[in-house]
């Protein structure tokens, strides 16, 4: 009986392997929170796709019109809002007179975009709503909205985010469709987003396009970057931090990078630990089985 108990009782290694998952959560939480309080200042390397994103915006003529669809909602705010802010800094910091037309194909996207416009464009650069930028708001219809804007942007969006008729806004004067757009800068969390803009707009109207996406969606969009359909790409919070580094405007993305790196390190350690324990436990079990038979 005592023998049987000893055999069925989990060993120390088995206990560690089956540890309460809440210990893992706690370890990751502590590793992420500590560098947010005491930053380490780990270096940030700018990737080629981020440089290309920056260069594409630099390449358009001054006073051009930029279409800026922000297709995300609060679920992706952590990654994409810092990106939106960094891009707005780039638009307005050089005083190039760019006209920014924002919109969103996610219902909760336009309020976030409006907040970014107010915090960055208005408060920091004195940009004026309706003159330097506009928020066209949300429109249901996904690909249909994209296709319809190819015919007429004012017809697709008769009013802006606040319900104002867009033909009363100076920024919309002379803007009819994609032919009047110099670059499409999409910030995207999934469907409808970058993939659909590429399929419905870039391939049909030959519009220059760059995209900032969540880390989850990025692998899906790399083929578009490799084929040249996207002129540049920002990937998750890391991409936003690299962009902040590039434009020399360290913000919330940069401050989160230490935490991100350490969080990854802890997850790698847990994966390695889990695999080592699995191998050791399997070896022990095989040894015990061999002894028994």
């Amino acid at each position: 009986m005592a023998n049987r108990n000893r055999n069925t009782e989990p060993t120390m290694l088995e206990k560690i392997e089956r540890m309460d998952r809440r210990i893992v959560f706690l370890a990751i939480a502590i590793t992420i929170i500590l560098p947010l309080i005491w930053p380490l200042g780990l270096p940030i390397q700018v990737s080629p796709q981020v440089e290309d994103f920056h260069d594409a915006i630099e390449s358009i003529p001054d006073s051009s019109v930029v279409l800026f669809p922000n297709d995300y909602d609060p679920a992706s705010k952590a990654e994409l809002y810092p990106m939106t802010e960094a891009i707005l800094h780039h638009f307005f910091s050089e005083d190039r007179g760019l006209k920014i037309i924002g919109l969103g194909l996610f219902p909760a996207g336009p309020p976030l975009l409006q907040r970014a416009f107010e915090e960055v464009a208005e408060e920091q650069y004195g940009a004026e709503y309706g003159v330097d930028y506009v928020n066209l708001g949300y429109k249901e219809g996904r690909e249909i909205v994209m296709a319809s804007m190819g015919e007429s942007i004012p017809k697709t969006f008769p009013t802006d985010f606040f319900g104002t008729p867009i033909d009363s806004l100076p920024i919309m004067e002379g803007i009819k469709n994609y032919r009047d757009i110099a670059i499409l800068v999409n910030v995207s969390a999934g469907y409808p987003g970058t993939k659909e803009w590429v399929q419905q707009v870039v391939s049909v109207f030959d519009v220059l396009m760059v995209s900032g996406t969540t880390g989850v969606s990025a692998p899906e969009y790399y083929p578009y970057y490799n084929s040249g359909q996207l002129a540049g790409m920002l990937e998750g919070l890391k991409g936003a931090a690299e962009y902040e580094e590039l434009i020399g405007k360290q913000g919330i993305a940069t401050s989160g990078m230490d935490a991100q790196s350490l969080g990854h390190l802890v997850i790698i350690l847990f994966i390695l630990l889990g695999n080592i324990l699995y191998i050791l436990n399997r070896r022990n079990k095989n040894r015990n089985r061999g002894g028994r038979f």
């Binding site: 309460d20 998952r21 809440r22 959560f25 990751i28 939480a29 992420i32 929170i33 947010l36 309080i37 679920a75 705010k77 952590a78 990654e79 219902p107 909760a108 708001g137 949300y138 429109k139 249901e140 219809g141 996904r142 690909e143 249909i144 296709a147 697709t156 969006f157 008769p158 009013t159 319900g163 659909e196 590429v198 399929q199 419905q200 870039v202 391939s203 049909v204 969540t214 880390g215 989850v216 990025a218 692998p219 083929p223 490799n226 084929s227 040249g228 359909q229 990937e235 998750g236 919070l237 890391k238 919330i252 401050s255 989160g256 935490a259 991100q260 969080g263 990854h264 997850i267």
Partner: protein, 243 residues
């Protein structure tokens, strides 16, 4: 005052959602139900205010575009599903929706994905520019650049062979398809890595918010912990039980 109240509500809801990591509990359920209700209400208001009014009803009331009666009719007949007698009418609206989306999707995939992606996969096996860069500046990165095109081309071929099911995967085909599956696993690993990065970013955002608003975070966090201890003592929850 309203801003402060908003921050306290945000902190409470954030901690209530995170409390699920400890175990399922009434705070989490409350936050979850509240989110579903608020999101539904917001979505309905938005559809009416941003879509139906400016794009349909206002132009119709101004008699500026009588053609809009057609989408109005097709939209209304969708509700005929509620009637046993006239439910067949809803198929007209549904047919229009499916037809338009299918047409746009086929057009988009054909023009935006299929042709351009195939074209971008036609690469020279040996990249002369990469060789020139390596000769000029020999190093690990420039050497890997030379391998880039061969890996890409052979990778595409191997993965395509893995999805070739008309012949048993044995012999040479077996080896090629095996390489294909390993390459697929590498790509799944990269996707998983990106997913981890995205999830950590979400937590970073909330942690930054909690640090900036540390007073409500500490107060509400402590109150929640006390509530969990009380629930555990009274036996209403088993602290060892996970979700």
């Amino acid at each position: 005052m309203w801003e402060t109240l908003g921050i306290w509500i945000q902190v409470f809801l954030t901690l209530a959602i995170f409390s699920f990591l400890y175990r399922d509990n009434p705070f989490y359920k409350f936050a979850e139900h509240l989110f579903v209700g608020v999101a539904t209400g917001y979505w309905v208001v938005l559809q009416v205010r941003n879509v139906l009014l400016p794009n349909l009803f206002e132009p119709l009331l101004r008699f500026s575009d009588p053609w809009l009666l057609l989408p109005l009719f097709l939209g209304l007949v969708l509700f005929m599903r509620l009637s046993d007698r006239y439910s067949y009418l809803s198929r007209w609206g549904m047919a229009a929706v499916v037809g338009i989306f299918a047409g746009l999707a086929i057009f988009g995939f054909g023009g935006g994905d299929l042709i351009i992606q195939i074209r971008s996969n036609i690469l020279p096996f040996i990249d002369r520019e990469a060789i020139a860069a390596f000769t000029e500046n020999a190093g690990l990165i420039t050497f890997l650049e030379i391998l880039s095109n061969p890996i890409f081309i052979l990778g595409v071929i191997c993965v395509l062979f893995y999805f070739f099911f008309s012949k048993e995967h044995t012999g040479a085909l077996g080896i090629v398809s095996k390489i294909g599956i390993y390459l697929l696993m590498i790509s799944f690993g990269a996707s998983y890595g990106n997913t981890v990065m995205a999830r950590i970013s979400l937590f970073i955002d909330r942690a930054q918010f909690g640090i900036v608003n540390w007073i409500p975070t500490v107060i509400i966090g402590v109150l929640m912990i006390i509530a969990f201890i009380v629930l555990a003592i009274t036996g209403k929850v088993d602290p060892k039980e996970q979700f």
